[in-house]
Amino acid sequence: MDAELRKQRRLAATKARRNVFTETVHPKSYFELMTDEEREAFFARERKRSTTALKQRKIRKTILTAIGLVIACSISLLALVPIFFTFLNSFMSSDEIISNYSVIFQSMSGHNSSGATYLSRTPVLKLIPEEVTIKQYTTLLFMNPAYLFKFWNSIILTLPIVGGQMAVACLASYSFARYRKKRREVLFFSYIILMLMPFQVTLVPNYMIADTLGILNTYWAIILPGVFSTFAIFLLTKYMRQIPSGYIEAATIDGATEWQIFTKIAIPLCKNAIFALTILLFIDYWNMVEQPLVLLTDTELQPLSVFLAQINEPEIGIAFAASAVYMIPPLLIFLWGEEYLVEGISRSGIK
């Protein structure tokens, strides 16, 4: 009724404003043609239908949400199980680990100097230790200095690469973003090509160059190619190109130098991307295997990632503790720069 009353008032107001009065024949609607009983029956039927439709929609939505949740949880569980598995198994004793998983190595070549054999029994994947012990950690940290040395190797390799690459990337990206000339575009395109190339393609040239420079089997053989990697330049360039040109022009009008523009405007605006890239690069180079494996023949110079990739039967007793300790630095780095990473990725469209 309110709607009808409002309609009549609006009509009256319109007529008063126009100062015209035209009596229009208003055709009766479907509802006006109905009797009150018919109208009541119609509304009752419609209410029932809409209620049913709402219920069906709610059920459907609930089912779809549940299915989606199950799928998401399953995928999350699959992703998290190895981490939990590693962490929980690191509290098993070495004997228990050997008892559970040593059969896996029977299928590997060179096992017991008699070659690979079929698995004599199924490996027992256990999450709950028979006896909780920190023996793996004590053995790893107190009885294996080589592990610690390799840990420092990883740090020595990773930190200069990340630092150097970020420095080079910031400068190069600003250049690519600020001065878009034809030759620079060609150079940038070559960077894109290089970035798209599989790593294994550039490994052999890298090896040859390192050999030529005489830095093979030294940390520089890893650090130098890493410092001048293209991935960070490409992404940071894309990010810096989003900086409004008005900011830079205003700074230029205000008399800012190029270095001031770079340090005062470009870098602060790209802070999120820089942190995100730092985290990604750290994780990437913390986990590198192929470069040190090829370029560092001296095992004492190889990082921890190579050791973890080479874990075999003799080290299985400490494998889980080694993996757990190995996970700590990337985890801390991620927790430290989580917000930067999320924001940086969302704005630059990384991966």
């Binding site: 009885m143 200095p145 840990f151 050791f307 801390l332 927790l335 430290w336």
Partner: protein
């Protein structure tokens, strides 16, 4: 958000710092926890018994030169390895300035001789008599006490017997008394009868007396009392019948005699009965008296028995007496022992005194001889060596001042100490390999356990065959007999032993990205032979290509991780 980042940064710093600290102390921790070992590969070959021992040459047929106790060397006339003949003067002695020792010995001898004389004159005393008397007295006391005990033990029986006797005798006494009374009554009856007869006879006898007074020959038999009368007129006797009425005197006398005889005849049985009764009376009186006596005796015995002490008291008395006897006997025994001891002491003292006197006499004689001695002579011919005196030194008792060894035919020996296991491979008659010293040969003549450590070591005595061997020279020999070819020879230090037997630790190496890792594995082995330095081992689980731990900083355990030192792969011998 900032706080969270700060916390994370602190965690990162702590993590890196912790790792840095662990890295800094890594080698220290390794050195403290993982023992360092030295390993060697087993080799194939034989064992070289490098068991050597050093001994000193000793001359068996040397002669000692003994010094003179208390004398001072004046001059030594020889030096070591001088050749002397038997009787040659080795050294001269300074004269004895004072003979206090001799005087003292003589004074001691005199004292002992006097003591001996006094002891022989001392009377022997017998101190055992008192103890023996005490024992006799105690024995008597014991006998009396035992008798009293026996009596006390038989006290009731005695009383019962006395009561029975009194009862029995009382009964008999009553019987006898009744019999006596009866016999007395009878006797009175018989006496009355006899009296009546006598009263009857008396008037008749009075008549006879009257007749006798008339002159009639009337005889009375003495034994029977019969009146005999022969009538002179008739010639009839009294036994002849008389008429109814006697008329004559003869007849009357005859009748009287006859009547008297009749009375006598009648009296005779009565008298006999009277005698019998009297006999019965006498017999019963005697029996009564005997019974009364028996009763009296029984009552006396009963009273005496009742007056006896109880068995326990009597037993106490016996025990006391027994104790007294034991004490007396013990005292006697002790006294005898003491007397024996005293006697033995006296005898021993006498013997000791005699011995001391004898020794003193010998010493005095020797001392007198020594005082008279002015030089020391060589007891045999040969080299003099090991002179242990100097001029002016005072010699001690039984001091050997030098030795004389024969010039030729010296019997030289040397004794070497070898471990028992090594010595077990040696045998008498074998020649030892002399590695140090100049002797022709060295032949084993005796092997016996080392007195200091008979289980672990043995002494090997060798005869030194060398004409120029002198005592005091050191020679070193080697016990070397091995010529076997063993498959696994390792240093003896690598072989360990525990309750389950011999074992070695093999080094199991594994190469990993974390570096070479070595662990030890215990392998039980059998030691086939051992030369003290190397041992030949064998074992089913022994890996001949594996290194074996020969030296370790710490005691090892099976499966323990170790560090290698001085590892040189070139040492591996094929």
């Amino acid at each position: 958000m900032k706080n969270r980042r700060k916390t994370i940064i602190r965690i990162m710093v702590a993590f890196v710092a912790g790792l840095a600290l662990l890295t800094f102390f890594s080698n220290t921790i390794m050195n403290l926890t993982i023992p360092k070992v030295m390993g060697e590969y087993a080799t194939r070959g034989n064992l070289a018994y490098t068991n050597t021992a050093t001994g000193t040459i000793k001359v068996e047929n040397e002669t000692k030169i003994t010094g003179v106790e208390g004398r001072t060397i004046d001059k030594i006339l020889v030096s070591s390895y001088d050749t002397v003949n038997e009787g040659d003067v080795i050294a001269t002695l300074k004269p004895v300035e004072n003979s206090d020792d001799l005087k003292e010995l003589q004074a001691q001898l005199l004292t002992l001789q006097r003591e001996k004389e006094y002891a022989e004159r001392a009377p022997s005393s017998n101190t055992l008599t008192t103890y023996e008397q005490a024992v006799d007295t105690a024995q008597d006391t014991l006998s009396e006490a035992q008798e009293a005990l026996t009596a006390a033990q038989n006290k009731q029986a005695t009383i019962d017997s006395a009561d029975a006797t009194i009862l029995d005798q009382s009964a008999q006494l009553a019987e006898y008394q009744s019999a006596l009374d009866y016999a007395t009554a009878e006797k009175a009856g018989y006496e009355d009868q006899i009296k009546a007869i006598d009263d009857s006879i008396k008037p008749l006898a009075d008549q006879i007396t009257i007749y006798q007074s008339y002159g009639y020959q009337i005889t009375i038999e003495e034994d029977t009392g019969y009146y005999r009368f022969t009538d002179p007129d008739t010639g009839l006797t009294e036994s002849d019948p008389v008429g109814t009425t006697p008329v004559t005197d003869g007849e009357k006398i005859r009748e009287l005699c006859y009547q008297i005889n009749q009375y006598i005849d009648a009296k005779a049985p009565i008298q006999s009965d009277l005698d019998a009764a009297q006999a019965v009376i006498d017999s019963n009186s005697a029996s009564i008296a005997a019974c009364e006596l028996a009763i009296t005796n029984a009552e006396t015995a009963k009273e005496a028995a009742e007056a006896l002490p109880s068995v326990s008291d009597a037993q106490k008395l016996v025990d006391t007496a027994q104790t007294g006897l034991s004490t007396a006997q013990q005292s006697l025994s002790d006294a005898q022992v003491n007397a024996g001891i005293e006697a033995d002491k006296a005898q021993d003292a006498a013997d000791d005194r005699d011995k001391s006197i004898e020794e003193l006499e010998t010493k005095i004689a020797e001392l007198e001889a020594k005082i008279e001695q002015t030089e020391i002579k060589a007891p045999a011919s040969g080299y003099v060596y090991n002179i242990s005196i100097e001029e002016g030194s005072v010699m001690e008792k039984n001091q050997t001042i030098a030795y004389v060894i024969p010039v030729d035919d010296r019997q030289c020996t040397a004794t070497f100490t070898f471990p028992s296991e090594v010595a077990s491979r040696l045998s008498i008659g074998d020649d030892m390999d002399v590695t140090m010293g100049y002797v022709d040969s060295c032949t084993i003549i005796n092997i016996k356990p080392d007195p200091d450590n008979p289980r672990e070591y043995k002494q090997v005595k060798c005869a030194i065959n060398d004409a120029y061997a002198f005592p005091g020279e050191s020679i070193t020999v080697r016990a070397d007999k091995s010529n076997k070819d063993y498959e696994c020879v390792i240093p003896s230090s690598a072989v360990n032993k525990d309750n389950s037997g011999y074992f070695v630790y093999q080094i199991i190496g594994s190469s990993s990205p974390l570096g070479d890792k070595y662990t030890v594995k215990r392998v039980d082995v059998t030691v086939e032979d051992d030369d003290g330095t190397y041992a030949a081992i064998s074992g089913e689980k022994l890996d001949k290509d594996a290194m074996i731990v020969v030296r370790s900083e710490k005691p090892l355990e099976d499966g323990e991780r170790v560090r290698l030192e001085d590892f040189d792969s070139d040492k591996k011998k094929t």
